[in-house]
């Protein structure tokens, strides 16, 4: 975890209450993920400091903030890679605390993650990548003895269609362009069919055209899935976001619709600035 790159506000600023937009009760959809009072510290450095968040079913949420704000750490905690010092994460029903489970168990329960750098299985074909991500039995014995079912093949074809890589299905994933790898990784998430998709910097290093395609892809997926996107590119965030959460120095600084966030003087100061 790198230290914050942006000068942080002083102590008085920290004490100011979190801005929260009241959403009319009728517009609320059922919640799918709760994060309660999450803190993580690495050798005294507080990467997350009492973060609470709620995600509604089918929403597309953007998570922004300067370097070191704790965005990636938050994803690490939700997916089980990092254990929090305090706090809990609940999925779907309130009885399972994700922070107590292993990465693969969390994945099984329905949290999918796309990494900052595209990580696909380089030596496998595009098709096999989707196959490996497919929701289903993940045990050793079933992997040894069962074969692709017709249903699984249909699902893979469907996913390849959505991400537009049908023509590339026999290609080794390592040979794809950067943008194609990012889409493949999103496709792998889809194959996993998770309740919540965590997408870390999907458009980093993309051309403008690729970015538009990605924006389209993510907007198309929202509604069916709950998506959290971490992104630095404000133009991209504007193109997809309905609701934005700003993290700063491990805390939630602001939370609300894009227009309101952009107008928030404190957000402008620490992040949008120039």
């Amino acid at each position: 975890m790198s230290a914050p790159a942006v000068e942080g506000p002083n102590e008085e600023d920290r004490a100011t209450p979190i801005i929260s937009v009241p959403v009319p009760e009728a517009a609320r959809r059922p919640l799918v993920l709760w994060i309660e009072d999450l803190s993580v510290s690495f050798d005294g450095f507080k990467a997350l400091d009492g973060v609470s968040l709620e995600l509604e079913q089918g929403e597309l949420r953007c998570l922004i903030g300067p370097n070191g704000a704790g965005k990636t750490t938050l994803m690490d905690v939700i997916t089980g890679k990092t254990r929090p010092t305090t706090g809990s994460v609940f999925l779907d029903r309130r009885d399972v605390d994700l922070t107590k489970l292993s990465e693969c168990r969390i994945a099984e329960l329905g949290v999918g993650r796309k990494f900052q750098r595209p990580t696909v299985f380089q030596g496998h074909t595009v098709y096999e990548n989707c196959e490996l991500a497919l929701r289903g039995r993940k045990g050793v014995w079933s992997a040894l003895f069962t074969r692709r079912s017709a249903g699984e093949r249909d699902r893979i074809d469907e996913v390849l269609e959505i991400i537009g890589l049908t023509s590339q299905s026999k290609r080794e994933a390592g040979l794809l362009s950067h943008g194609q790898k990012q889409w493949l990784e999103i496709g792998m998430l889809l194959a996993q069919d998770p309740k919540v998709l965590l997408v870390d910097e999907p458009v980093a290093g993309m051309t403008h055209a690729e970015m538009e395609r990605t924006s389209e892809l993510l907007r198309g997926l929202a509604g069916k899935h709950t998506i959290v996107v971490v992104e630095h590119d404000m133009e991209f965030v504007r193109s997809i976001a309905r609701r934005v959460t700003v993290l700063h120095e491990g805390r939630v600084l602001a939370d609300g619709p894009m227009a309101q966030i952009q107008a928030d003087p404190r957000v402008v100061e620490v992040y949008l600035g120039e």
């Binding site: 292993s102 990580t119 696909v120 030596g123 496998h124 490996l132 050793v140 992997a143 040894l144």
Partner: protein, 362 residues
């Protein structure tokens, strides 16, 4: 049937089957009798190389301790060979000769049962398998990976060597187990028995190949290569990578035990030098030379390196280690994919040559 087709195309199956058959029938088609045990030894090394390739080439786990599993299989077989001739040793005792020599009065508990061939044969697989399972469970659960894992396996086999060197351990100390006479009633020095052991090794090699091919072409095989390339990602995809590694690691150890068990009756001795670290490293070299991630390559690598060793240590004994070192350097620098990596290159070169020949004529 279609599963077989997923493993190989019919044409490749025909080639593989044909080569295997030829190899198995070699003693009946002019292979000199004194070379039969030597070639049988190479076949056993081929099995060990497949086992090594499974963990290293496909799952990315470099073991520098596979010699231990090989030796454990060998010791299990050796114990059967010793026990089956009880009363016929130099001392005419029911105990193996070395125990009489050490003035032991009673058979240690762990020697019981080995007079029965089925029990001993099962132990050839179960002893290395059990050790691998326990060791792997601790190592993989603690997420020990890469070079650290290799070093720990090296230390494991070294520790075992020291343990087996001691007379008190009960496996014949540094002399190991030797002076075998018969296997299943057949005299070991008889050419017929030797040919049978050779054919058994060839069958075992073919069966191991088919098994390994089944594993690497299954979804499990694809998960293993995925674990090799991006382990964390497989965990986020919901695979408990530890279980997958443990499975392939244990399977590999058992196959190595099988190789050792077939090796011992053919060479007539098993002693702790078989588990010395250098032997395990040599196994890694077989696979590196042949080609990691290619099963056929692993077998070829084992035969070439072990064959070269036999030939060189006979003609210029001092040159072998230099040759081995040079081979390792050459493979690392010029053949990262091993000898099988040359095949596509050769094919391209041949095609280019052919085209050049054709063009002037056209």
């Amino acid at each position: 049937m279609s599963r077989l087709r997923e493993m190989h195309t019919p044409r490749v199956w025909a080639v593989v089957g044909g080569v295997a058959l030829l190899l198995a029938l070699l003693p009946f088609f002019g292979l000199p009798a004194h070379l039969v045990p030597l070639f049988g030894k190479f076949l056993c090394f081929g099995i060990a190389a497949l086992a090594m390739d499974l963990v290293w080439g496909y799952a990315g786990i470099l073991s520098l301790g596979h010699g231990l599993f090989f030796a454990l299989g060998g010791y299990s077989m050796g114990m059967y060979l010793m026990r089956s001739i009880a009363g016929e040793g130099v001392y005419r005792s029911a105990l193996p000769d070395f125990m009489v020599f050490l003035d032991w009065k009673e058979l240690p508990w762990y020697w019981h049962g080995f007079q029965h061939f089925p029990f001993a044969a099962a132990m050839c697989l179960l002893a290395p398998g059990a050790l691998a399972l326990v060791f792997g469970w601790f190592a993989f659960r603690s997420r020990i990976r890469g070079v650290y894992f290799s070093i720990v396996t090296q230390a494991l086999t070294y520790a075992a060597t020291l343990l087996f060197f001691q007379n008190a351990t009960g496996f014949g100390g540094n002399n190991g187990l030797t002076d075998f006479k018969r296997i299943l009633g057949a005299p070991l020095h008889d050419p017929g028995t030797r040919a049978t052991l050779y054919v058994a090794s060839a069958i075992a090699l073919f069966a191991t190949y088919v098994l390994c091919r089944y594993v690497v072409t299954s979804r499990l095989g694809r998960v293993l290569t995925a674990v090799r390339d991006a382990e964390l990602k497989t965990r986020f995809c919901g695979y408990e990578s530890t279980h997958y590694k443990l499975f392939v690691w244990t399977l590999s150890a058992m196959l190595c035990g099988l190789a050792g068990a077939l090796y011992v009756p053919q060479v007539g001795i098993i002693n702790p030098s078989e588990m010395q670290p250098a032997n395990s490293i040599e196994m890694a070299i077989w696979v590196a030379v042949g080609g990691r991630g290619s099963l056929i390559g692993a077998i070829i690598g084992a035969c070439i390196v072990a064959g070269g060793k036999s030939w060189l240590t006979n003609t210029i004994p001092s040159a072998w280690l230099y040759a081995l070192g040079a081979l390792f350097v050459v493979v690392t620098l010029f053949l990262p994919k091993g000898l099988v990596g040359l095949v596509p290159k050769l094919r391209l070169a041949l095609a280019a040559l052919f085209r050049r020949r054709v063009r002037p004529a056209a």
